[in-house]
Point group: C2
Chain length 447, copies 2
Amino acid sequence: MQIIMLSGGSGTRLWPLSNDARSKQFLKFLPVEGSEERESMVQRVVRQIHESGLDAGLTVATAACQRDAIEAQLGRGVDVVTEPERRKTMPAICLAAEYLAREKGCADDETVVVIPCDPFTGEGYFEAVRRMAECVEGNVADLMLMGITPTYPSAKYGYVVPEYATGRHGAFMVRRFVEKPAVDVAERLIAEHALWSGGVFAFRLGYLLRIARRYVDCPTFEGVREHFDEYPAISFDYGVVEHEASMAVVPFGGEWRDLGTWLTLTDELRHSTYGNVITDGRQNNTHIINELEIPLMCIGTSDLVIAASPDGILVSEKNRSEDIKLYADRLKARPMFEERRWGWYKVIDQVEFPDGYCALTKQLTVNPGCALSYQQHACRDEVWTFIQGSGEIVLNGERRPVKRGDTVFIPKGSRHALRADTLLTFIEVQSGSNLVEEDITRFPYDW
Amino acid sequence: MQIIMLSGGSGTRLWPLSNDARSKQFLKFLPVEGSEERESMVQRVVRQIHESGLDAGLTVATAACQRDAIEAQLGRGVDVVTEPERRKTMPAICLAAEYLAREKGCADDETVVVIPCDPFTGEGYFEAVRRMAECVEGNVADLMLMGITPTYPSAKYGYVVPEYATGRHGAFMVRRFVEKPAVDVAERLIAEHALWSGGVFAFRLGYLLRIARRYVDCPTFEGVREHFDEYPAISFDYGVVEHEASMAVVPFGGEWRDLGTWLTLTDELRHSTYGNVITDGRQNNTHIINELEIPLMCIGTSDLVIAASPDGILVSEKNRSEDIKLYADRLKARPMFEERRWGWYKVIDQVEFPDGYCALTKQLTVNPGCALSYQQHACRDEVWTFIQGSGEIVLNGERRPVKRGDTVFIPKGSRHALRADTLLTFIEVQSGSNLVEEDITRFPYDW
């Protein structure tokens, strides 16, 4: 059995804490039971898979720009398939299926379960996943769905109408599937005892490969990946589920909540304030999260979510927090905070002068034993001032130790690399005519 | 005639836009009629004095830490008296009176008018000031007050009960003065047709010198200033007005509003948002001011004031905005933004490591022709990276040009100065064991 965890999705619903590189599934807000620790959605799902005792391989399907965040949170032992560009869930699942076939050598009759990483689920969820896999193995249907008990006539989910008369292995054949119906249609579907589709799918690998290869058929995984843009950019629900005749559903009646908006996420938080926050104690249903170092003061207020990060500041009425995405998508700003495989950085200052010259100042922290790649920038100088720890830099082939108090000037065109011996923090001032992450040429370097 | 403008006061009521070095009177929020420009309270008062045609010398009495802000806003031509420490209004007025006598050579019979800088006043205000001065010259009383028509029984003003039967020069003798009464007493005073004291006082210089010299009597102004701590630390209302028998009041019935809190200040603003602000257009009685470069997004919300600056972020119900001071006073943080005589700086990053080592990163802008003093730090290294403009630095006696793209390392103990030829911006990374503004030794340097 193989599990594909989908961890794509753009991050603007929980702006300013999420951005293109740090989507909602990486925010460490969820309380870990019996501990003061917090974990992210992806960490929670992976922990739950391990605790469920499911004997399954795990592959994470994600956007290329999120690979570093996945590795930072789950370690490097995880199999990761990166989509060259965002193209919704059908292409993502097709690519991951090809990865199982071509790279992990899975057979056509291998059972595959696709799970999303963003619902907050309770006990019994992975029992339902196991039952779905058993139904695939028992040939109950070609495609298995998970059915969630609807709580309101939402227009944002798919609806599964089961044939309740025909249960087998705790599953029911599917009479009808309707993706994202209008609210009045959703009301009628709920009256017919329809269930929400929980975004969990199980099938044999060969089933999906037959569908995937209608669009892209290459003998190698890299070949498939190069033709990724030839898969239709639609969701798995529209591209596969809506057209499938042989489907069954396993109902799951336990805890299941979509943590996609501030309104739903704040319901799960253990505390009402996080970070450097001062209040007069008169907040009513208000959640405040401050990831900046400067203080955030709140006097009074009701039914608000307030969040501050290097990307920006949000003050929103909770019940309007679904509107954030609309406005955040218009903000074409660069991410101001990113987790990378070597550590993390935040942008602390950004200036653009009328003549187009720019300066960008970052604080960067490199984890012990990690290294920045040997690289070169065409359009910018960099000045590094080390303020914590020690390590080694390479500048145009010359290697030397650096430590707290040292300053290194890296003129444009010079090749440079950095490795941390201990936790290494430095301030970087970039200046030049074009300060984009893409102005980088990487070279191999053997430490 | 001499005018003393009081511009002291700590800045926490309008936190985070005001701080110890940038009090509310320096915030440039007030619309200038017939223009898109904005001006600060001190700039507005000085402009109004000029426009009123009063033939008067102007002296600004302020705290030492605000001298740079005064000069940045009013230019260097203004006479400024700086109090060595904050000690309320009576010591401030005594010191300014000694300055007029000892430094400006004013005679004992010179008419002096003391005006505050924080009320927002309309037409006719300076006509009332002129009438107060005329009353002093006509010997109506030893001390003249300005009376404002009360709008509610406030406990934060002084109340003047006039002898309405005895008008002269448009003034009335004062029967009684009560400083900051309880609300029920204020109600009874208003029923007696009492007026608020507007904090404007007029007298002959000799009158005040006789009072001041009861506490400090020195032949030189510098001598007086050295003994500043011997004046009682009380307000002019408690120290002088409450005990004076010969007082008259000039009523002023025009526009007069105390801009001391966010609630009252936001009433004067022309726009509801300032700076990098995105909204869904559904704000109800909400004012948003963002002095940071990162975006501030507001979705919905009613009756709030939201303000962000390098010092912090405020989200407050408007009618509770008086409580801000209580909490802001507890924030013992360094100011993160300051206007200086040579330009301005903002702190963009601040880190303290567990071993006490610190790093502080600033963006500084030096105005053309201005210079930082020749100075030395005992406990910190500095790295300057120039990102705009050109000028000259002096490092341990050696002078050389600097321009955009240059980096200078200034190890602890080295003497350094900087002068801007054009508008000069640089990023400064300070690091060391003790990063306080006070770690500075200044030396003369002759450019």
